[in-house]
Symmetry: C2
Subunit: 316 residues, 2 copies
């Protein structure tokens, strides 16, 4: 059977992992994690997703079947001999930064994303935080992407700056956190940092600020969105990736792509701002439990209610 | 000559000081500082202010005459034998928290605010960060305050918790920063902290978040305002007090007081939110230079332009 991607389906490439996480709220052992899992589940509330990733033989089939049930196409997930990527980390009381205790890349070390025919036809592409060389390899394989977003991290910013800059020339949207933006731009001031990063390629830059929300920088200006304030943060892992998933899902559902930036810049800006809020809301659910547990039981009416609540918190 | 306070004039009681501050941008020696000075100058863009404070004989008359030129009534400033309060502090690269190097209270140690007849008739009262016993003494002297706001800090929260709680029962609005809110409430989570503080008395709680703006908690809900993102932060000293000044000035100019909370709660909420934005904008100017230097040269068209710019950054 040949699978034709839905016109608004999103291709997401990144890590699939087991996470072992200790936070002040408790501990989770070898639970489902990885950037592309958080991204996909979040995006799936808005649009179909095609995942490309790699897992070991130890990856439970139940995880894949659960993803499949959520409009997430997992035919691009390679199951190879060996063990699945396993991250072990902890958060202290302030919950703002993870301390990595160990990283076993395992089968992820030799990840080489090969896209099937249906993946190559994707219009929406999200390159999670992987080697920028692989990010470019994915873009080489996609036939005519209409909107490309990517993520990165200090490891690549410091380790492969030239390759990352080559990736940035080919993406429409970059999302990074404040420290990453400072490192990438060489500037402490976030406004200047965002300006400099936009000059590297991405017309749209999102700077994630954890519990303080996110800033959106576009040709039309700056938008500052607060995080939705939750009563209890259990585990911040995956907040950024689920932010990106809802953000990209929102744009895909709306059929918004880079052409819109020229053709209807006002509408493009409006959708980008709404998409950032969707991202903030999704991230706020993610942090309420370990792993993807909160998203697994998230109902769409809860999502809508919190989106309205967040809007009421910024309305003057 | 008898001075009758303007119906919207604000009585402000707090410290007047010399600050010596070192930041990554440079150093300022014995410049004009103190909570009530930042508050008054900021508020004076919106409404007349009456200051009650104490200085030593070393306090330059030019400072007082400069304040007078800005609709700030300084007849309540006592000039006594001795030296003016002098604070010495520094900020490191991240500019988020001041490190106090020395505090010479000098004449401020025996500050005992005595209100003149015109001060007692004030409708708007701001109690800057001083001993809660003195805050209550001021309230005892004011005849019929229509809106009372106060500030506090860790020193009093930890040192005189029962006195501070007595003050809180008598104020409409409390502004504190995140750490202070946590200490005062005994709760790490800001939402819970704000709820608990509101239960202590103030119907309106503002939690200041430095470079991330401020949160407003009222009976009607929560409002989250971003800081106006400035390109260069020179000295964060006085940001919180000038925030409070513009906030209170905005409400006084609008004639908004606690009666409005019952009589037109929707309009009250709208004005509170606008006032928070006014506070964020004023604070953003304050941090662009040492001392009150930026506010001294601030033009009202700059103020209006930045207020519009901030609104555009939260509009969806």
């Amino acid at each position: 059977m040949k699978i034709h991607p839905h016109p608004v389906s999103i291709l997401a490439v990144g890590s699939m992992a087991f996470d072992t996480v200790q936070t002040p709220s408790g501990k989770a052992d070898a639970v489902l994690g990885g950037s592309v899992n958080y991204f996909s589940v979040a995006a799936s509330f808005y649009a179909p997703v095609q995942v490309v990733g790699v897992v070991g033989e130890d990856f439970p089939k139940t995880h894949l079947s659960w993803l499949s049930e959520r409009k997430i196409d997992v035919t691009g997930v390679q199951v190879v001999r060996g063990k699945t990527f396993h991250w072990v980390g902890s958060y202290d009381q302030n919950l703002s930064e993870a301390k990595t205790l160990s990283t076993a890349l395992n089968v992820f070390e030799h990840f080489d994303p090969r896209l099937g025919e249906s993946h190559r036809k994707s219009h929406y592409v999200f390159l999670a935080n992987i080697d920028p060389v692989l990010q470019q390899s994915v873009l080489d394989q996609v036939e005519s992407p209409k909107l490309v977003a990517c993520d990165s991290m200090n490891f690549w910013i410091a380790g492969k700056p030239e390759e990352l800059k080559r990736t940035l020339k080919r993406v429409d949207i970059l999302s990074v956190n404040e420290v990453e933006a400072q490192l990438l731009s060489g500037h402490r001031n976030i406004i200047k940092a965002a300006e400099l990063i936009r000059a590297m390629g991405p017309a749209v830059v999102i700077i994630k600020r954890g519990e303080y929300g996110a800033m959106l920088f576009t040709p039309a200006g700056t938008f500052i969105a607060p995080a939705f304030p939750v009563q209890s943060v259990v585990d911040p892992t995956g907040a950024g990736d689920s932010f990106a998933g809802a953000f990209m899902g929102f744009l895909a559902e709306a059929g918004a792509d880079r052409k819109m930036a020229d053709e209807s810049p006002h509408e493009w800006e409006r959708l980008l701002r709404r998409a950032v809020l969707a991202g903030c809301v999704m991230a706020s659910f993610t942090v309420e439990d370990f792993s993807l547990h909160r998203l697994m039981r998230l109902e769409s009416d809860e999502l809508v209610a919190r989106q309205h609540a967040l809007i009421s918190m910024i309305t003057i």
